[in-house]
């Protein structure tokens, strides 16, 4: 919404800069997004003066140029080189002086500097109409009347209008401020409450309104008083429709409204002054001299102002004459009934209050989002229709002539008084949280035109005017009081009133996420966040379609399904980075996956991990190593150990992976999976290197009660290490060796580790070598060589017997 500073000054006698007014408006809830300077002629003709051509000679080097001497009211004449053919001695011309900027009508700007044109110095420029931004004419220089005084500023001669325009972002609840008078009301209250000034609020004077005759009375019948609670109108005869005077054109231009003709301009002016849309009919086209406000049958054809044919809905409210529809009430005019500058002599002006919901429905269903509709939707003031008609009639008579030739017709069967309720000072204080003087409260209400009908034992019975459509409860009044008092004038105390011991769950998902993220980033993993919406076709071959959660109305086909796994979006991220020459990647993401199971829509939290390329950066310090399964398994171990969770790993089938492992805890909860992504998927995302992926079921992991750390006495007796190299069948797993060693074993074996793996044909076909270290320790004594040998021999025997192992000597 555009609000003019100069208009506001017509209602309020303040003497405050536009910038400060802007701040006051923002502070009381009318957010000023921008303040623009308006000049009725762009650039304001700054630095341009009127001069007279005193001398004129032809330029010796250029046939078309003249060298002039111009009197601009200074002591010396100015030498200016000019190329116009219509130039003559004695002409009055507009001269752009050195240092000025001219604003060409096409929007270009030109800085005027001292110049040398074909060897002759030139101290300014004699301007054409288009160069001044006054019009389109470029047929030579602009010639001014001979009686203009030399040295006059062009801005004075052309009576430049200057204004400042506030661009206000009006919130949907502020229909009351959808006009200059509405904004002035808030400003009036805020200025008087918060500054020492005593500003007066003067609304337009309507005392000049007089009915000339009643020769052309139009009768009005409203058939639906719910959709149209009030309908007022008046007839004005013998008007002359023509161009508007400059003052009106400039007023509208300042707020971005294009001038049409004097009558339409006045209706637009009043729309922005009062917030009341008016509609002007050609009175001679109202058949039967009768207006009927009613609905038409569904699908009745209607030709709108711009010549389009539309089909009406049965609940669209239509302004009809005795025969048929003339105008879609509050939304758009009809083709036939509007005023026409050629033929219209007599006009009927409508000023009505329509139901906001009715207007909104019609306006949206026909996609006719007109200014008038937007005003009616935000709710206008039902109690100003007649005042606005009077104001319009006065202005029309002044500008377009004619006489008022009917009484004001006013159909208002059930006057809307406003909203009556009571408020208490205590409640206001309690919700505000600080004391406000009762006098201030009453003053604010008074400035905002809220009527205090009764004050008794700390309560106020109030009547809120109908234009404050959104103020119906105590809390609404508290907002009115506080926004005028100024939110920023509420003093802070650095204390919170109600302190109580909070219950905070420090095991909450987010706390656990942050802990784990630190672990992961410390281990070289990069956190990513991917879109949870994806394209259905991406999922098609990998997930059961009937379990997908799909969006009905996505604006983008790429985003029509919620993701089922973090794998696909993760591969997209890998692919993106590989395209940008970064192929050594370690990613993790905390995100949700979504699934439809029967009619349930499920969302589960997942932690995904993925690695590809080298797992370390290339450097002089260490060799490059490719991403592999073990790197991923070790990070998973770290995460689950931090949560005190023990688990086992088994191999499972999964079509997304070459091979896939599943992690389960003792109670058989599936904690997650780890796998090597298939070539098929890799190819789809143009990924050449292996991608290892893991997905942890974060919701399940967080729901488990992990083991707590418990202190155990440190054993006093020394550890002993013995190494063993085994040659075994390739099929034998480390896990089998481990089980065998710890099975019914001597309690002296504390730890087992594998420090070398070797495969070579020299070991025998289908064989491999594992080098193990065994840590032995007793809680009771220092072990002797005999003790140790006994255990080790026993162990070797078991390995030889059960696993067919050969011990390398």
């Amino acid at each position: 919404m555009k609000i003019s500073y100069n208009w506001l000054k017509e209602y309020l006698d303040f003497n405050i800069s536009p910038k400060e007014i802007g701040e006051v408006l923002t502070d009381c809830g009318l957010e000023v997004e921008e303040i623009k300077t308006f000049e009725s002629i762009s650039g304001g003709l700054e630095g341009i003066v009127i001069g007279e051509i005193k001398e004129l000679i032809k330029h010796s080097n250029a046939e078309k140029l003249s060298i002039t001497k111009v009197d601009v009211g200074e002591i010396d004449l100015l030498q200016i080189v000019c190329g116009a053919s219509n130039i003559k001695v004695g002409q009055k011309v507009a001269v752009a002086l050195i240092g000025s900027t001219i604003n060409h009508i096409n929007g270009e700007k030109l800085n005027i500097k001292k110049a040398k044109i074909k060897g002759v110095e030139s101290f300014g420029m004699i301007c054409a109409e288009d160069e001044l931004g006054l019009g389109m004419n470029h047929e030579g220089i602009l010639e001014l009347p001979p009686d203009v005084k030399i040295g006059t500023n062009a801005s004075d001669y052309y009576k430049i209008e200057r204004d400042f325009v506030f661009e206000i972002g009006l919130t949907p609840n502020r229909g009351d401020a959808n006009s200059h008078i509405g904004v002035a009301r808030d400003l009036y209250a805020a200025l008087n409450i918060n500054s020492n000034t005593n500003v007066k609020f003067t609304k337009p004077d309507l005392s000049g309104f007089k009915i000339d005759n009643t020769n052309r009375t139009i009768s009005v019948e409203v058939l639906d008083s719910v959709a149209c609670p009030r309908y007022s109108g008046i007839t004005i005869s013998n008007v002359t429709i023509k161009e508007s005077p400059d003052w009106l054109k400039n007023k509208l231009k300042a707020i971005g409204v294009r001038s049409i003709n004097n009558v339409v301009d006045i209706t637009n002016y009043l729309l922005h002054e009062y917030g009341q849309p008016l509609h002007a009919f050609d009175a001679d086209k109202i058949r039967g001299s009768k207006i009927v406000v009613r609905q038409e049958k569904q699908n009745t054809s209607f030709k709108t102002l711009d010549g389009n044919e539309i089909k009406l809905n049965a609940d669209d409210l239509i302004i009809c004459d005795a025969i048929g529809g003339m105008c879609i009430a509050g939304v758009y005019g009809g083709f036939e009934s509007g005023i026409n500058s050629e033929t219209t002599k007599n006009i009927f002006l409508e000023s009505a209050y329509f139901n906001p919901t009715t207007i909104r429905k019609t306006s949206i269903s026909h996609n006719l989002r007109t200014d008038a509709a937007l005003h009616f939707e935000k709710a206008c003031d039902p109690n100003i229709t007649v005042d606005v008609l009077k104001r319009a009639a006065i202005l029309i008579k002044e500008i377009a002539g004619g006489e008022i030739s009917s009484e004001i017709i006013d159909v208002y069967p059930n006057p809307i008084e406003g909203f009556r309720f009571s408020i208490s000072y205590d409640r206001i204080m309690q919700l505000s949280g600080f004391p406000i003087e009762k006098e201030i409260i009453k003053k604010i209400l008074n400035y905002l035109e809220v009527i205090i009908e009764k004050e008794e034992s700390g309560r106020l019975d109030i009547l809120v005017p109908a234009f404050k459509n959104d103020v119906r409860r105590e809390a609404d009044i508290v907002e009115e009081i506080l926004r005028i008092y100024g939110y920023n004038n509420i003093e802070l105390t650095d204390e919170l009133s109600s302190a109580y011991l909070p219950k905070i769950n420090f095991n909450h998902y987010y706390f656990k996420q942050f802990e784990t993220s630190k672990l992961l980033s410390g281990n070289g993993f990069q956190e990513i966040i991917c879109n949870s919406l994806t394209n259905l076709s991406e999922l098609k071959n990998y997930f059961e379609p009937s379990n997908n959660v799909t969006v009905l109305n996505s604006k983008s086909v790429d985003l029509d399904t919620l993701r089922r796994s973090l794998l696909i979006s993760g591969l997209e991220a890998i692919s993106f980075n590989i395209k940008h020459k970064h192929s050594n990647l370690k990613f993790f993401e905390f995100g949700k996956v979504y699934e439809k199971v029967n009619s349930d829509l499920k969302e589960e939290r997942i932690l995904s991990l993925m690695i590809t390329g080298n797992i370390n950066e290339e450097s002089w310090y260490s060799k490059n190593k490719n991403a592999d399964l073990f790197k991923l398994l070790s990070i998973i171990k770290k995460i689950l150990t931090k949560h005190g969770i023990e688990y086992t790993i088994i191999k499972v089938a999964n079509s997304l992976f070459h091979y896939c492992l599943e992690l389960r805890d003792k109670s058989n909860n599936v904690l997650g999976i780890v796998g090597l992504v298939t070539d098929d998927l890799n190819n789809k995302y143009d990924i050449k290197k292996e991608v290892f992926y893991a997905e942890l079921n974060w919701d399940i992991i967080l729901s488990l009660k992990g083991k707590l750390s418990v202190y155990k006495e440190i054993v006093k007796f020394p550890e002993v290490r013995r190494d063993l190299s085994l040659i075994i069948d390739k099929k034998v797993t480390y896990d089998e060796i481990k089980c065998l060693i710890f099975e019914k074993s001597d309690k002296l074996i504390k730890e087992l580790n594998i420090f070398d793996i070797y495969e070579s044909e020299s070991l025998g076909i289908g064989k491999k070598s594992y080098s193990l270290s065994v840590i032995l320790q007793s809680d009771m004594k220092t072990l002797t060589v005999e003790d140790i040998d006994k255990v080790m021999n026993n162990l070797i025997n078991k390995l030889e017997l059960k696993l067919n192992a050969t011990i390398r000597k």
Binding site: T26, G29, E31, P172, N173, T357, R360, Q430, L431, G433, F434, R473, A475, V478, E479, L482, Y487, N488, I490, L492, E495, L496, S497, S498, A499, Y500, P502, I504, N505, H508, Y509, Y510, F511, F514, S521, G522, N523, Q526, E527, I528, I529, N531, S532, L533, N553, S554, K555, L559, A573, F576, N577, H582, L585, K586, F587, K592, Y594, L601, E617, S619
Partner: protein
């Protein structure tokens, strides 16, 4: 015996220890089991009782002195020989690459926000992203024809009954209010969706952090105190705050909160569009209708709510100008956030 002690003392004093070899020679000659000092101790048995005390003291002194000489000489030899032959490496080599990953800037900022509110007793709460009409709109006082619904262009999963991707995290607030346990003091961070075409300034998903406090006698002033506390903790003590009256269907009175521009500190620049202020959140007193919708008696309890966009706060903080960067996962972007000073 006395003389023997004295002459041995002299012998010890005169023995020159230069290196490890002479040190070992010294040890064998004087301190070993068969050494000269021990030999005197062996002879001590034959000393008469009346001299035992005096001789014993002298002998002990000799032992201590001889051992001290050994230890001191040993230390001196270690000191003089230990640095020989050890070269200083080329410490100008580039450092071993920092292989730390980084935490996504949105997560870093979120953690800070959560810490700030934990500090004044806010618990965490969350709700589903796939939500019904009641928890996303109706309970929050969006009537069917209200203009505010126009602002929300949403992803629908189902129509009649309406199921949609939540447009704000306020659904978590409705759910906790409905649970009926008073007082309530929570923040609800989470992912939300709007049906937008993706561009530098709009995205179909983003994250919010909303807060809610409901108790007896909660006031607007307390809301203001809380927001000021947050802004100072988040953006620094010198940050200025401005409240602007605004409108939300679920709060009354409502406000939008601006802070002094972090780039120009209020002087005016292109980030704040030369206003000196940037908007960071909306807030207000929970609308009495919302309380009633959640079965809370508005005559007994009042409360406030606030909400901010995590992306917006993060963009302001790091001067990021394109929303898409957050979800593109370009490591050239992500790796810029090693420094976790927020």
């Amino acid at each position: 015996m006395k003389n023997q002690i004295e002459s041995l003392q002299k012998e010890i004093d005169d023995f020159r220890i230069n290196d490890n070899q002479t040190l070992e020679k010294y040890r064998i000659e004087f301190l070993s089991k068969n050494g000269k000092v021990q030999k005197l101790f062996d002879d001590f048995k034959s000393v008469s009782i009346d001299q035992k005390r005096e001789i014993g003291q002298k002998l002990n002194l000799l032992k201590t002195v001889s051992e001290n000489k050994y230890n001191e000489s040993k230390e001196a030899i270690i000191k003089t020989t230990s640095n020989i032959g050890i070269e200083v490496p080329d410490f100008s080599l580039p450092e071993i690459p920092n292989e730390d990953g980084t935490i996504h800037p949105l997560s870093q900022v979120l953690e800070k926000i959560i810490k700030i509110f934990s500090g004044i007793g806010y618990d965490l709460s969350d709700g589903p992203e796939i939500e019904d009409d009641w928890h996303n709109f109706t309970a929050l006082n969006f009537p069917p024809n209200h203009p505010a619904r126009e602002m929300q262009d949403s992803f629908f999963i189902n129509k009649n009954p309406d199921i949609l991707l939540r447009t704000h995290t306020s659904n978590a607030q409705v759910r906790i209010m409905e649970s009926g346990k008073m007082p309530i003091r929570i923040i609800s961070p989470g992912r939300v969706y709007r049906n937008e075409v993706i561009s530098a300034r709009a995205h179909c998903l983003f994250h919010q952090v909303e807060g809610l406090y409901i108790n007896k006698n909660v006031s607007f002033k307390e809301l203001k105190d809380t927001i000021y506390y947050f802004v100072k903790a988040m953006f620094g003590d010198n940050t200025k705050v401005r409240f602007r009256p605004s409108f939300f269907p679920f709060t009354e009175p409502s406000a939008e909160v601006d802070i002094s521009c972090l780039i120009c500190h209020g002087k005016g620049c292109n980030v704040c569009k030369y206003s000196g202020w940037v908007e960071i959140m909306g807030c207000g007193m929970v609308d009495t209708q919302v309380l009633e919708n959640c079965n809370i008696n508005p005559n007994e309890f009042s409360g406030f709510a606030f909400g901010m966009g995590l992306e917006r706060i993060t963009m302001l903080h790091y001067q990021i100008k394109d929303l898409r960067l957050f979800f593109e996962n370009d490591v050239r972007f992500l790796r810029q956030f090693q420094n976790q000073n927020i």
